[in-house]
Symmetry: C2
Subunit: 234 residues, 2 copies
């Protein structure tokens, strides 16, 4: 009997990470990009990535890439898509499993970022990227848009306390369009997942706006009762 395992072709397998970041002052969804450090395409803009090693899982490889770049071990991460065309990488045949991660840009140590020659770039002004990386970003961005409608993952991109205006600005930054304020507030309040704090944000207006906090335990409870997160607002 042929041992299919020993006679079949083997491939280089990589992970590439689409790292979305946000900060409440810029109000822009950003992407963490690096200048590639080896050939081909040395010095060109690229997604952070790396080859999967023999002794690590695919998701382990993605975590390693994220950790090496950001110093953060606990990031929200999801598998996005696998790209397997023969000629997608001009350096050799590489199958890449892409992931997207969400990060509150203020969590990042700027010194670490600088040391990795990584840079934040606005999603609406992405430079030319190597290989099929622009396609990879577009798909991950579409997936993020779908995800934040039906799962409370947007909070990963915000500081612990935020105002409802700041939450709406985050959604608008991801959607790249404005949304209806009344409907947005009605929907988010009606799910009862946020706790209103006694404290006010007073930098943007004299009157101030109350801070809120997302309570994960309330979400667990909400799901157990059979409800679905829904912030799909026009």
């Amino acid at each position: 009997m042929t041992d299919h395992y020993s006679v079949s072709d083997k491939h280089l397998v990589a992970v590439d990470c689409v790292i979305f970041g946000y900060d409440i002052y810029d109000k822009e969804l950003k992407l963490l990009l690096i200048k590639r450090k080896f050939e081909p395409e040395f010095g060109k803009w690229s997604l952070p990535g790396g080859f999967v090693k023999k002794d690590e899982s695919v998701s382990g490889a993605a975590c390693r890439v994220l950790y090496q770049l950001t110093g953060l071990a606990e990031l929200y991460m999801e598998q996005s898509y696998t790209y397997g065309d023969i000629n997608r990488d001009t350096g050799g045949r590489v199958i890449t499993i892409t992931h997207f991660a969400l990060i509150n840009a203020y969590q990042l140590d700027p010194v670490m970022i600088e040391a990795s020659s990584a840079h934040w770039r606005s999603i609406s002004r992405i430079p030319k990227l190597i290989f099929d990386h622009e396609k990879i970003v577009k798909k991950a961005h579409r997936q993020l848009i779908e995800r934040i409608k039906v799962k409370p993952v947007g909070f990963e991109l915000l500081p612990e306390k935020f105002t409802l205006v700041q939450l709406q600005q985050l959604y608008e930054a991801i959607y790249l369009r404005t949304i209806d304020k009344r409907n947005f507030r009605k929907k988010i309040i009606s799910m009862n997942l946020l706790e209103k704090l006694d404290e006010k944000e007073k930098e943007t207006s004299k009157k101030g706006a109350f801070y809120y906090k997302f309570i994960p335990a309330r979400y667990d409870d909400f799901r157990r009762k059979g409800f679905y997160f829904n912030l799909d607002v026009q």
Copy 2:
């Protein structure tokens, strides 16, 4: 400069296919399974799959597996998920990119199926499968449920002409629950994607029920006008 391409680990990469089938008489969503023809797990129930070759893309490999098994070159297929744990396959370290395909079970040549020792099994009575294949099926089934709510892919599983009852039965077979008939009809009719034929299906009732046909060009038009397919019915 290190040539990362030549020094990095290489891996066996596979595709596994979750082939969903339906026929309007059984009213059950089915899965095409095979008895594995090599070690380890020889003779056990498995998803159809194969190793990706040097000279083919990942999606090309999935098409090859589907074609060899069904004789059909034009099937609806989507990438599902990539499984990359180190020990998921007891025969060796294999990263698998799973795909799901949709097929009107009547399209299939039973002789061909038999020759491949493939068998249809109801989604609600799946035998024990090798490795992580049960997990793979569950995820693909959840994705199919989400997909048929927002994209007109269910028609791939039906003959060209079908009654509204038959269309509803398909959705119920995929959801594994009953749905509200009035809402379902209202939603599907209101999108105006179906053409009502002059012909009636008379086997199931004396009065008969009109046949309908899905018109892809109407769907293209519908999307161009900015509408979204939506058959999310409770």
